[in-house]
Assembly symmetry: C2
Homo-oligomer: 322 residues x 2
């Protein structure tokens, strides 16, 4: 079996490309330069086999998702991604698995000019933690707490696809065959909304990424901003593939409001900025949809045909007993 | 069972104290300021239950060690520790365990003015990853690659105590009772050499912390510096507790050279700086010992009674089949 050092050397010494990395992998720590006038934005997310992805998920998909969920946190802050560290716990030394994992990781990292600068390889049940770093011009981070009354509530992309793919994968729902590829891609290879996040620095008052479900994550914005909101279920963007498979509102509602794993952005825009914002995202061909409005009355209300939906679920929580 | 959010709120919202933390726990990412003229130093280490510590290790010891091994990486770079993120995977929600864990973590963090700024709580087999961040004045990081011929090789503290404690804990060696407390403390609560690391910015040419064993870690300095060294086994500092228990050189040699887990520093000092350096560490009451010298002939040689020891072991490696 190769040593820990061999694994790092063989699979994770990816291209050293960034000028702001003085020391990358191979010393006791990385030495990095944050540009003057910028703040460091740092986040860490863990994926555990059998909890955050089914055990049979491919190495390439696991690598992609591990990094994508972290990139999504950068997007939610409006940050430019820069570097990451990787802690990977492996049950064994499967060189084919490691090859696929590192190839997929490197491809996504390269797309965002993101450099792997350190980490740890350990032996145990499969678990991946990534700590990601990015920059923002000082004082421009998109926070959850700055929504205002009358701000418009937006989401990007389409909502509910990942949740639908998951229940199908778990055998709880039978998909039409010709949508399986599309939906599984949404679950396993979510596209982090980094470009939109950067744009939102100039337009959004508050922002979060949708990992735990729209209701729960918008709920965080409302809680931190000490406000409420009404959203309209009909306005929430759904993919054709979702609509083809889910006709019954009773199934659509939990998938869309509480499903999670979409890694789209949910954000608020001041009413006076709305038209300029929509013009710009149209020009850039970024899909966003206004789904409601911030209000002073606390709590989240979601209407369907003008009737309020009872939002039972608080979103997917790893320790929930539900 | 409490939700993921409850666990973070209840146990890990430690005191927010540092001025350079604009956003800590509670948003999609932390927002942090690196002071002008300084570089960011970042490292990540993982501890897996049953691999890096015996399953019966107390929550307080696990928390302490998880953070201490990361602080040790800061020490090895000469960095001032500042912030950390914590990814903790828990098999269940044991509030007593979590209480002890977070209390111990907070105490060590406070000692080094270190702030927890983010992380992730997940469900699965016990595993702790910490990503630590510190600063150094730009260009002053202590690297492995800058040792020079005739530099003196030093180690701090005493070597071999943690390895002895581990073999005793594993039932492979019978300790004298009155040394068990001392040795277990060395294994479970190693003292990161942060103060020494800061001092070494002005004196050391190369530096590493001893996590994998003196031979392996000094070996990294030699490999990166493309040089060799001779060290003298008699000069390696051993504790009285070690000497009381280990009389046979055949046991002492592997424990001291390959044992690992001591988290002392191994570093090189230019010959002309040696006397000033030793004067200063004496004044500061920091224990260091010169154990040998860097040479142009590659490889590590260790002499005992003028006879070269055969250094079989390459240090503790997690994937080693030995």
């Amino acid at each position: 079996m190769p040593s820990e050092f061999d694994i790092i050397r063989q699979y994770f010494m990816l291209e050293n490309s960034r000028d702001d990395v003085s020391v990358g992998i191979g010393d006791d720590a990385a030495v990095l330069s944050v540009p003057a006038g910028y703040q460091l934005v740092q986040s860490m997310d863990t994926l555990v086999a059998g909890v955050h992805f089914p055990l049979e998920t491919s190495a390439g998909d696991i690598a992609y998702k591990s990094l994508a969920v972290n990139l999504s946190d950068m997007a939610a802050m409006g940050a430019t991604p820069a570097w990451f560290t990787l802690a990977i716990t492996l049950p064994d030394d499967d060189s084919e698995w490691l090859q696929s994992f590192s190839k997929s990781l490197a491809a996504l990292a390269q797309k965002y000019n993101l450099q792997l600068v350190g980490g740890d390889t350990t032996h145990g049940p499969l678990c991946i933690s990534i700590c990601i770093n990015g920059f923002i011009p000082t004082g421009t981070a998109l926070l959850r707490k700055n929504a205002n009354v009358k701000d418009k509530v937006y989401v990007s992309g389409t909502i509910g696809d990942a949740a639908l793919a998951l229940v199908a994968w778990q055998g709880q729902y039978l998909l039409r065959n010709d949508t399986t590829y599309y939906l599984n891609k949404k679950l396993n290879r979510p596209e982090p909304q980094v470009e939109l996040g950067l744009l939102l620095r100039d337009y959004a008052s508050a922002c979060i990424d949708i990992s735990d479900g729209l209701a729960a994550d918008l709920g965080h914005i409302l809680q931190e901003s000490k406000l409420g909101a009404t959203i309209y279920f009909e306005k929430i963007p759904l993919s054709n593939e979702f609509k083809l498979n889910v006709i019954d509102d009773n199934l659509a509602i939990p998938l869309v409001l509480s499903g999670g794993d979409d890694y789209q952005l949910c954000f608020t825009v001041r009413a006076e900025k709305q038209s300029v914002f929509e013009k710009i995202v149209n020009e850039k061909n970024i899909k966003v949809e206004c789904i409601g409005e911030i209000e002073s009355v606390k709590g989240l209300r979601c209407l369907l045909d003008n009737v309020e939906i009872d939002i039972h679920e608080a979103g997917y929580q790893h320790f929930s007993s539900d």
